[in-house]
Symmetry: C2
Subunit: 77 residues, 2 copies
Amino acid sequence: MSSILATIGSNIKFHRKKLRLSQEQLADLADLHRTYVGSVERGERNISALNIEKLAAVLGVEPAKLLESKPNQIDDK
Amino acid sequence: MSSILATIGSNIKFHRKKLRLSQEQLADLADLHRTYVGSVERGERNISALNIEKLAAVLGVEPAKLLESKPNQIDDK
């Protein structure tokens, strides 16, 4: 798995859980499919810039934030 | 044109010029096609996370940096 895809996936999951959204709710709000959001969170999809932008908008963060590796971030399973 | 694609394109161009690389040199170093890099710089392509990572590695910046909007950045045509 690419480290950038894993980083993006983990950041999306982190911010989604912070907002207490399910994958399905996030997917609906971002106009994406639930299974797609799941695979992005697992770092399995080479997500595009436009989908990063869509998810960031729903999560209320700057798109760049979703690419930042945060070594101290708690891995919230 | 999406603002995120324009931002990424402008950031790539900015860092490429800082390193005095041609589009062709950047493309070769990142193992991408020159015309692809040109269209990304013009904000015409929905670039993927893995290609953002490849270009950032050659440009010597964190991938997240390429998504940041910098209102004060001089538009270096």
